[in-house]
Amino acid sequence: MDTSLPCGTTSRSYKEDSAIIRTRNRHILFALFALLIIVGPFFLSSHMISLFTIIYIWIIAAHGLNILVGYCGQISLGHSAFMGIGAYTSATLGTNLGLPFWVSIPCAVLVAGFIGILFGLPSVRIKGFYLAMATLAAQFIMAFLFLHWESVTGGYAGMPAPEPELGGFMFDSELSYYYLVLFFAVLATFFAKNLARTKTGRAFVAIRDNDLAAEVMGMNLYAYKLLAFFIASCFAGLGGALWAHYAGHITPEEFTLNGSIWLLGMVIVGGLGRTMGAVFGVFAIKLLEEGTSYLSIELSQIWPTLGANFVSAIGVMGFAAALMLFLIFEPRGIEHSWGLLKKYYRNWPFSY
């Protein structure tokens, strides 16, 4: 029984009961939201469009991490490296082999996915801290390869990625790329939301809550854990590949341990184990970053003595402080607060 439904909503069939959007008002709101994200960019500056494009790219990657950490309970500190694998694979295929965009993206997704399985292998025997260590090692090893496998990745200087082209149409403007990324982000959200409602998603949750009990009940623990790593890395690979084609040039510095920490932070701030949590978290952290960067640039113009490092340092510290506050005061994330807020307004003026 979904307690978030308004009074008087009845289900007359199983199909109706399991629908995600139930009432007419919600259909209207959903349609309005869809309209907003489709028509919205026409009224925004190109800086804002670029910000939202980046947010959507991170949402794709965050969904993957949320499935792995939030649903399946396997800690990963190497998600940024899997984004890197997707980015480098797609960029290499596009630049060196001249493959079109619609071939290189699926290849990037699959390569990231299979390398994800490779580094997920330790999860077969270990969990908790030990798994965090294994993924940390994966992060360092991959970052090292990005930096030193120069014949493929271009070393420090990085490598270019071609602009995506589909049937003669070049996605070379901010606006066209926005829609491309939006398409994938919606697809990823749809997939993530529905995965949680399938047998696989339920199995992930069972493994998260108690993997031993799940195994005793007949689930193939290893297959599901590796599947979670595969799906998560696929999402990361897709996000990374889209990022590579958007940025046009990628360097190893974009896929470091810090990136992984930021992704985990986003998922936690948004709400771990909730599909919308990943979306909320990315929006919150990215807007916070944008806000602090704007503010600190203004401040450093007023007081030039603050120095060049001020802007980048304040962004990092703001993120860390937000993460600490959420961990202490709202460990269930924005998604939970949002639910409480909605409940409050639905029940108003009665408190029950």
Binding site: V69, I75, L121, P122, R125, I126, G128, F129, Y130, A132, M133, A134, L136, A137, A138, F140, I141, F144, H148, N210, L212, A213, V216, N258, I261, L264, G265, I268, L272, G307, A308, N309, F310, S312, A313, I314, G315, V316, M317, F319, A320, A321, L323, M324, L327, I328, P331
Partner: protein, 294 residues
Amino acid sequence: MINFIEVLLTGVTVGGVYALLALGFVIIFKSSKVFNFAVGQLLTWGAYIFMIFIVNLKFPIWIGFLATIGFAVLVGFSIERLLLRPMIGQSILSIIMMTLAISVFLSGFIVLIWGGTWYAYPSFWGSGAFKIGEITLSVQHVVSLGIALLLFGILSLYFKFTFGGLAMRAVAEDHQVARSKGVNAKQVFAHAWVICAVVCVISGVLLGSMLGVGPGLAIMGLKAVPVVLVGGLESIPGVLIAGPLIGIIEALVAEYISPGMGMALEEIIPYIILVLILIFKPYGLFGIKRIERI
């Protein structure tokens, strides 16, 4: 041959510092089951603070050293009290994320104040070298190893013979039982964090004197992670063996394999060892294999 022995000894001395850092990890993990990812940044902080005391404020070295330790006590205590105590009873992931957030925050602070530049301490141990036969070793390395071993000894004695150490071991064994016997578990956590911060800061000063002081020191700090896991998370003697082991492997790879490959393989060799250990012997060389029940 002489060269080979020198490489080995360098590995042992660097490994000694790794072992010391790893000890900081193990102490916190044993007493409160928190894995402290912030060691890298705590170490870097220690190196910078020591630099402030002896370069900017021109303290004599030993006073600067004591002042740095005092600072570490303060930092360790406040981190535990403000940030980790509210997390008691939260999931492993939340606690890992809290230490990572602390680490990110401290790194931001370092960038804010000192930027990305590398500094060097004035050479306070002289540039002399020990000579044993034909083998030369820099004074710096020998003194570092000496301090690391000394601290190891002090902490081992502390754990074995003092009440505080006993309380810590009791809490590590079983929180509930320790508390029912009148041990103040929260105070023990605070002690563990203070010890960890002090150990980190001392390692930071030692590493800083060998490599210079800069934001990159934090990466060195994270090398303690493989050391801890190779030794086994709960094992103090394990750390003492694994630290020099990793240090030696690193030094050997840097000397003999990396030049042939044209890349600095020693940077990641500890992590490759870590992955292999996790796949083949997940609980380390001396760790406790856990038996789980539903």
